[in-house]
Amino acid sequence: MDAFEYASPTTKEQAVALLAGEWGSTELLAGGTDLLSLMKDYLVTPKRVVNIKSVQELKGLRYTAGSGLRLGALVTIAELVEHPQARKEYPALIQAAEGIASPQIRSLGTVGGDLCQRPRCWYFRNGFGLLAKDEQGGSLVADGDNRYHAILGNSGPAYFVNPSSLAPALIALGAKVQLFGPGGARELSLDRFFVIPKTEQDREYALKPNEILLEVLVPPATKVRSATYEVRQKEALDWPLVAAAVALNLDGNKIRTARVVLGHVAPIPWKAPEAEKVLAGKTVTEDLAAEAGQAAVSQASPLSRNAYKVQLARVAVKRAVLQAAQGGV
């Protein structure tokens, strides 16, 4: 990899001051599980790497019944998985975190890193660019091997899928994120954090190049039953083919409101309001769950090789709904 400057700030103000105003010339280092491989493959070639691991205010996991869960951006996946109250209150989040790769990755990888990691699209990772265009400007993905690519939100130019494991669960649970830049802090609903890039120079999230993710705030979920269901071919060290996170706000047996979010199906975590509408006001049955699954993919438009993912998404939603209704465990 090209030589680079290494900076290790201790405050968030120092951190953002070290970031450049445009993407690419500086990169943030937290767990490093993604950044190091991106750099070794020359997919990013920063002039400066800003290590934020010494910024204390980015650490810390806190739960209170009144305000819910606060996850500092540097909280590791392992810390999250082992937190007793998080386990009890947010099954969808914990199930998603437990699905992440390996003990090694969970020990190093951070919540912020999970949300900000770059797509796993094999065209991107093999150096064909984020939008994977051929020399004539056509998409290599649309006409290529797109078995792992998007079935929703794929009208182009981006066809990759968002790789975050935690985002679908966090969005289903109504999480917000705190961002911090030279102008101070701003808050964003997590579903608005992810964007579909239009050009090679864009990123997949709403951070500005000189902003950092401070923390994730998850509201209390005492009356919510939630679950994440991942369809994965391999048990370990593999990405889910499709994931669905469901949060059900129940009134006895009846669903008052539901949130359904799909992962690995679109360039952003994909909210499925069609499924939410099916569920609202009903009592959970196997048929209703299947109907919700069907509704979730009603807008799907598969590419040449990934029609099977429509079926996987349908099943993931159905199973997540049933799992959530049973208490989320």
Binding site: M1, D2, Y42, R120, W122, Y123, R125, N126, F128, D134, L140, D143, G144, D145, R147, Y148, V231, R232, Q233, K234, E235, A236, L237, D238, W239, L241, R305, N306, Y308, Q311, L312, V315
Partner: protein, 710 residues
């Protein structure tokens, strides 16, 4: 002259007992040093610039910027302007630098212009490959036309397996160091230490004796590591140019792109049987690629030999990294194509495939009685009779269970080997031969055979391997090693012992022929109290050690060839997601006389795991437009983890009739059957054939759309 034979069943102290591998502690503790661990004083790191196009002609190369980079010590053009490149990842320029990262940066400063040429990287659709198809002549035996006409049941199917890679834990590569202008030492990661040195010498124009190869441990080869390879020879050339040792190990991406592929095989197959289930006819149109050279032709129908056959194979020249022998070359492909067609035929006959196989067992030829016994034994291990059901698990819910089976064969004849046994006057014993232990347990086998012969414990044997200055032994391929090294070691040890007997016989007052070595003593046969301890006996040598050699081939029937095995799989398939899980697999395997059952079983376990990997996960995914491999990494070139393997049961077939065959190789045969055993189990579970491996959710769901239980 000693009579060379293996000890009788009742007289074996170590052979047939469960001995732990002798190099286990070194490997677990990390003290075992692999080529990857070799670090020589002043050593540089080599890297290779590779062609990004699947088919191209090199127009120009400019290395000037790379040469100027601080820390770069040698730059060599490997394939110059005008060269036609036939696969993405082929070698163009080599660089050696003081650090790996500098070498990598240097590669990025080299400017190469290519003229792109049309490429072909997909061969599954035969009608789309055009003039890349090289059909062989049709082969006919019996009268297939009449046989199909008269058949009670005819089944037609399409089956196939994609190109996969070897994916050894340790990548290819070597360290090269010149002693002077004419003498080279290499530390290769190889399956043939003795052979590879000669190949280096030949390519570099050196006298054969001027290249020394050294290797103690290798992180797997599976058939892909016999040659020094162009990158190995370039490592030596970079070292010469730089005047320093150079290490060049392939990164994972080129390892998967260029360092070995198992040829694909696809076939449209028609099989026929009489109404009562007698297998009568086979017809196949098969094709596959092993790279630009085309690739081998799978021996189909495999193991089974029905009387009427028509077949034709077409090799396809594709622009992918070229094929190398992959554990049991051509057999896994042939077995999959054959056993899937047979299972489909049995299903059409509404017969249990186990019954179909037993009914037709004579068609497997001379080994049919062993196969019959192995089928019955394996069925018992799986509780087949109770668990098998006709196609399509009728139980409710999305999880469907099924059973499948396959049978296989392999040769495994012993390779040439020479071993030197040394008995020192202090009683210590050395056994020396230039073999290599691929992780299969070769070291342990040699130590057991020597210890058994000398009547000593295994840890009394000092073993020297992996150095071309030792007596030569063959490369480890074709499952030839265990037969070769065990036979040469047995003969060397017997020869050494004969000399020792001659020396000590007068002290014991008997003829040398009346002596035997057992329990750490040299003793009189039938009168064990009349003995010398091993140390006392050796002391009689004075100051001169005994050196004795033994060779294979040689006198005595210590080895032979030809093994068989049966494997059965029990799988669960989620018909809503297409995910396949292995519940259990059982393997019953014969391989003649077994030196160490624990290591033999370990070979079978490893092969079954490798088989599960290629059945469920492995595929070299090539991009049609760019001609590049899309998954040259361990993220999307998927292998099984612990949780994906299920319960594995191994039963080695032993007994006097197998012992009498001597030692036969085992490394390859058990990797042949998993594909069809698992594929047939999936068909049995879901009621429809998933025609091609790997059995991914995508393929399983596609098959279920056409029929089955979902």
């Amino acid at each position: 002259m000693a009579e060379y034979k293996w000890p009788e069943a009742g007289k074996r102290a170590l052979i047939g007992k469960r001995t732990n591998r002798v190099d286990g502690p070194a490997k677990v503790s990390g003290s075992a040093k692999y080529t990857y661990d070799v670090k020589r004083p002043g050593m540089l790191y080599g890297k290779i610039l590779r062609c990004p196009h699947a088919h191209a002609r090199i127009v120009s190369i400019d290395t000037s910027e790379a040469e100027k980079l601080l820390g770069v010590k040698a730059v060599r053009i490997i394939q110059g302007p005008g060269t036609e490149i036939q696969w993405a990842g082929d070698e163009v320029v080599g660089v050696a630098a003081v650090e790996e990262t500098i070498a990598e940066d240097a590669l990025r400063k080299i400017k190469v212009q290519y003229e792109k040429l049309p490429h072909l990287v997909h061969e599954e659709e035969l009608e789309k490959v055009g003039d890349r198809a090289k059909p062989a002549a049709e082969q006919v035996s019996g009268d297939p036309d009449s046989a199909f006409k008269e058949a009670g049941v005819v089944v037609e199917g399409y089956y196939g397996l994609p190109v996969i890679t070897h994916c050894a834990l340790e990548a290819h590569g070597c360290v090269a160091e010149w002693e002077d202008e004419q003498n080279l030492t290499v530390w290769p990661s190889t399956q043939g230490v003795a052979r590879v040195a000669g190949q280096f010498a030949e390519t570099l124009g050196l006298p054969a004796g001027n290249v020394r190869a050294l290797m103690q441990y290798v992180g797997g080869g599976f058939g892909a590591k016999f040659s020094p390879d162009r990158w190995g020879v370039e490592t030596a050339r970079l070292a010469k140019q730089a005047g320093k040792p150079v290490k060049l190990m392939l990164e994972r991406a080129p390892e998967l792109m260029v360092a070995g592929a198992r040829p694909s095989a696809f076939a449209r197959i028609k099989v026929a049987a009489t109404k009562d289930g007698t297998f009568t006819a086979w017809q196949s149109e098969s094709w596959g690629t092993g790279g630009i050279g085309g690739g081998g032709s799978p021996p189909i129908p495999y193991v089974w030999n029905p009387p009427h056959q028509r077949k034709r194979h077409t090799a396809i020249a594709a622009n992918i990294g070229s094929a190398r022998a992959w554990r049991a070359p051509n057999h896994p492909q042939a077995c999959f194509l054959t056993m899937c067609a047979i299972e489909d035929l049995a299903a059409a006959l509404k017969m249990d495939p186990l019954e179909f196989c037993l009914k037709n067992i004579a068609l497997t030829g001379e080994r049919s009685e062993i196969y019959r016994q192995e089928l019955i034994q394996c069925a018992e291990l799986m509780d087949w009779k109770k668990k098998w059901h006709p196609r399509g698990d009728p139980s409710v819910g999305p999880i469907k269970r099924g059973l499948g089976l396959a049978i296989h064969t392999w040769g495994g004849r012993a390779h040439d080997s020479e071993c030197r046994a040394t008995i020192h006057p202090d009683g210590s014993v050395e056994v020396s031969l230039c073999t290599q232990d691929l992780g299969t347990g070769t070291r342990t086998v040699v130590a057991i055979v020597a210890a058994e012969t000398f009547g000593l414990p295994v840890d009394a044997i000092k073993l020297n391997v992996g150095d071309t200055r030792l007596p030569p032994s063959g490369g480890s391929g074709g499952s030839t090693t265990v037969g070769g090294v065990s036979s040469s070691t047995r003969r060397a040890a017997q020869n050494a012992l004969e000399q020792l007997f001659a020396k000590v016989a007068p002290d014991l007052g008997v003829a040398p022929e009346q002596l035997e070595a057992a329990g750490g003593t040299i003793r009189v046969k039938g009168n064990p109290s009349k003995n010398l301890t091993w140390k006392q006996a050796a002391a009689k040598l004075g100051v001169t050690p005994i050196h004795a050699t033994g060779k294979n081939p040689g006198p005595g029937n210590l080895n032979s060839s030809g093994v068989g095995g049966v494997q059965m799989a029990d799988v669960s398939v989620d018909v809503e997601t297409g995910v396949v899980k292995i519940n259990k697999m059982a393997a019953v395997q014969d391989c003649g006389l077994i030196i160490d059952p624990k290591l033999a079983e370990s070979q079978v376990y490893g092969a079954m795991i490798m088989g599960i990997c290629y059945s469920l996960f492995e595929e070299k995914v090539m991009d049609r437009a760019t001609g590049r491999m899309l998954n040259p990494n361990m993220e999307f070139y998927k292998l099984a983890g612990m949780a994906d393997i299920g319960e594995l049961v191994v039963q080695m077939v032993t007994g006097p009739e197998h012992d009498s065959r001597g030692v036969i190789g085992l490394g390859e045969p058990p990797v042949i059957s998993p594909g069809p055993a698992i594929g047939n189990a999936v068909a049995n579970a879901i009621g429809v054939r998933v025609p091609t491996l790997p059995l991914t959710p995508e393929r399983v769901l596609a098959a279920l759309e056409k029929g089955g239980v979902a």
